[in-house]
């Protein structure tokens, strides 16, 4: 055995690895946006390198090998410099990590392996690097006892460093995708998700994330299948591998066999035809069997989403999130940029349909902690120990008045052209609301002096998404025209459970009795002062809660466009009378599980296919 040449053993081991890699693999995650997608993998790391499976003509092979040795030498030199710097600063035990990285970058086996992929398979150097590093990572992960598993991060770090030298300015960004792909990543920040073009990205799958993460919300809005929270899988996939994403069951299938592929092609076709059946509901009103009219509105992120909203039968926009005007920009958006975006939505809404514009609701969760997302954002939030309880949303705006007023001016100017309404997020005290309204009044005065047109009676609303606001609903109701219950944050703040933290996310349930009581209180308070209550957030788009919300007295729901037909179907199957009974009974139940089970049962009773 000892006579065996190293390279032979390596090849044997890689060979069996590679055979295994071509076998079908199924990964389970959390289904957050329905649909089925079939397409080639695009593996992204946090720096948005795109590593396509690309081959080069024979005459470029030597050139690719040269690029490799230059990149490795540069990367190794950089790492040596890091080693020295870190050793001087923190001591040799930390510097040694970079020393090991430098050794890996000049590792003879590594170089041989990459070169042989270039020479034998004609792979482009970037792909050869990526594939080799991922094989090593996979091999390390599979070692029993996992004592080297954390070294996988080192390998990814090295890969990134090599690729940075190889790609330099040629690195492609997501928005420049030229062919349809399935995007795979450890995580996607909402701003990154926002860059996805639904025409180019068939689906995405992430290792991290939970059901109610903003990334999941954006996926729903973009109307592309998505699976999150899969856990580590990126080492199992290479760019270009064929994937099936089952957004109904939260499955990622790597290298599907013929049979599976056929089956999913069929599922995809069935889903599309079901979708078109739901579209048939479009001209029908969202009216209960006993004649109550429910207003169904759409939640949107981008101006272009007005169209899918209407296509699915929305009567207007109930929540226009404006954060994406701010993300991925080098500077704050100008008043003109705001205005143009708002006018685009208004034009789509034919001017007479309502458009509720929520002022900037930026939180720490919407930034990439590191990397391009944060760097290219207009500003970087100071690190906070508890960002969800920190300076975010309207609090941030009240500290950045120029920014706040710019947006208010644009909203007011837009109000001259259609049914625009302004809504303040994350209000937690009456004083905050008054401050917002005072600033709005100042901006109105300015516009008046400048002779710029706006709607002087612009309706003002507040989000109810902090428990304090829900409890003070009666006080708030006297000073606004409408409420919109933001269930995602309301649930998270009420149960003190981070909806993105998988270990506690079971605590997060819209059916929790505490949440029901808060919503009930808000509706009662609003009724006293004749204030409309809208419910936005995922709860309103889940057919499980439609009867409950109707029964509690809600007559307006704002949901992601793709949920509109589903919710309309439940509305049209229900009566107010039975919904009230259902809500009363649900209010008597003691746990979220009981509530959810009861609601499922009752919804199935009126519409057996409600959850299909």
């Amino acid at each position: 055995m000892t006579q065996t040449r190293c390279s032979t053993i390596d090849r044997v081991r890689w060979g069996s690895e590679s055979a295994k890699r071509n076998a079908m693999e199924i990964k389970r995650g959390i289904a957050v946006s329905p649909g089925v997608a079939i397409g080639p993998a695009l593996v992204l790391d946090t720096e948005w390198f795109r590593i396509p499976q690309r081959t080069v003509p024979q005459n470029q092979v030597d050139g690719e090998c040269l690029r490799l040795s230059v990149a490795l030498a540069q990367a190794a030199a950089e790492t040596r410099a890091n080693e020295e710097a870190v050793t001087a600063k923190l001591g040799p035990q930390y510097g040694a990590i970079f020393g090991a990285h430098a050794l890996m970058l000049t590792d003879p086996t590594l170089v041989q392996e990459i070169e042989s992929l270039i020479r034998n398979e004609n792979f482009a150097v970037e792909y050869a690097v990526s594939r080799t590093m991922r094989r090593y990572a996979k091999a390390l992960e599979s070692i029993e006892g996992g004592y080297l598993a954390e070294r996988v991060a080192d390998l990814f770090d090295i890969e990134k460093r090599i690729l940075r030298h190889l790609l330099g300015l040629r690195r492609e960004q997501l928005r420049d995708l030229s062919e349809p792909v399935v995007v795979l990543s450890h995580d996607l920040s909402p701003s990154e998700t926002a860059e996805l073009d639904p025409r180019r990205v068939h689906a995405f799958v992430t290792e991290a994330g939970g059901r109610a993460s903003h990334t999941a919300i954006v996926a729903g809005v973009l109307d592309i299948p998505a699976v999150v929270g899969v856990g580590p899988f990126l080492t199992d996939v290479s760019g270009g591998d064929v994937l099936v994403v089952d957004g109904h069951h939260g499955l990622l299938i790597i290298n599907p066999d013929e049979e599976t592929l056929e089956r999913y092609k069929h599922v995809r076709a069935t889903f599309r035809s079901q979708e078109s059946k739901l579209h048939e509901l479009r001209p029908l009103p969202a009216q209960t069997r006993d004649g109550a009219r429910i207003t169904l509105l759409g939640n949107i992120e981008f101006p272009q989403e007005g169209t899918p909203c209407l296509e699915r039968g929305a009567e207007g926009v109930g929540l226009y999130r404006t954060e994406f005007l701010y993300l991925g920009k080098q500077s704050h958006p100008s008043e003109e940029e705001h205005l143009q975006a708002y006018l685009t939505v208004l034009r789509t809404m034919e001017s007479h349909r309502p458009v509720v514009i929520r002022t900037l609701d930026l939180g720490a969760d919407k930034f990439l902690p590191l990397g391009v997302g944060a760097e290219s954002s207009a500003w970087r939030a100071a690190p906070e120990r508890n960002p969800f309880l920190g300076l975010r949303s309207v609090r941030l705006c009240l500290r950045n008045l120029t920014l706040f007023k710019t947006q208010m001016r644009a909203i007011l100017r837009a109000s001259a052209f259609g049914d625009v309404r302004i809504m303040f997020p994350m209000i937690s005290t009456l004083l905050e609301l008054r401050q917002c309204k005072m600033i709005l009044a100042e901006v109105k005065e300015d516009l008046e002096e400048e002779g710029i047109a706006f709607n002087p009676r612009l309706p003002v609303g507040t989000m109810i998404e902090v428990p304090s606001a829900a409890l003070l609903a009666e006080l708030l109701a006297r000073e606004v025209d409408f409420f919109s219950i933001g269930t995602n944050d309301l649930i998270q703040y009420t149960l003190a459970a981070d909806r993105n933290n998988e270990t506690v996310s079971t605590l997060y349930s819209p059916g929790d009795p505490a949440v029901l009581r808060l919503i009930d209180g808000v509706v009662r308070a609003a009724a006293k002062y004749n204030v409309t209550v809208n419910v936005c957030g995922e709860m309103s788009g889940d057919p499980l809660y439609t009867m409950l919300l109707l029964g509690l007295g809600i007559r307006q729901l704002s949901v992601t466009p793709h949920s509109i037909p589903t919710i309309k179907r439940v509305v049209r199957s229900a009566t107010v009378e039975e919904s009230v009974k259902v809500a009363q009974e649900a209010m008597r139940l003691e746990t979220a599980r009981d509530v959810n089970n009861y609601l499922r049962e009752q919804t199935r009773r009126i519409l057996p296919s409600a959850f299909d």
Binding site: C6, D10, G99, L103, M104, T109, L140, G145, L148
Partner: protein
């Protein structure tokens, strides 16, 4: 390659196994010699000058590794490498048999 082939077995005594830092030191030291250095474990043979290869050996405490050094400076190389492997880790450990 000209020169003798020398072999010696070494048991990993470090409670953390043959981990990143000693592997780095080993690969670095091995690379200084002209001789080829192979490290085997239960029939798996890898290049001793490659830190990545050494990682894949997954040598935890108690693993027996065989070093095989071929070349003009084989003798010096082998004794230096064995000395490195047998050097006590930062924590006090006593040599134990397999």
């Amino acid at each position: 390659m000209n020169g003798p082939t020398l072999k010696q077995n070494v048991v990993i005594n470090n409670p953390q196994g043959f981990h990143l830092r000693p592997m780095g030191a080993f690969a670095q030291l091995a690379s200084r010699f002209e001789s080829s250095v192979k490290v085997s474990r239960e029939g798996q043979t890898v290049n001793g000058k490659s830190i990545l290869d050494l990682m894949l050996l997954a040598a935890v405490q108690g693993t027996e590794l065989m070093l095989e050094v071929t070349g003009s400076d084989a003798e010096d190389a082998l004794s230096a490498l064995v000395r490195l492997l047998n050097a006590p880790p930062e924590e006090e450990t006593t040599a134990s048999s397999v």
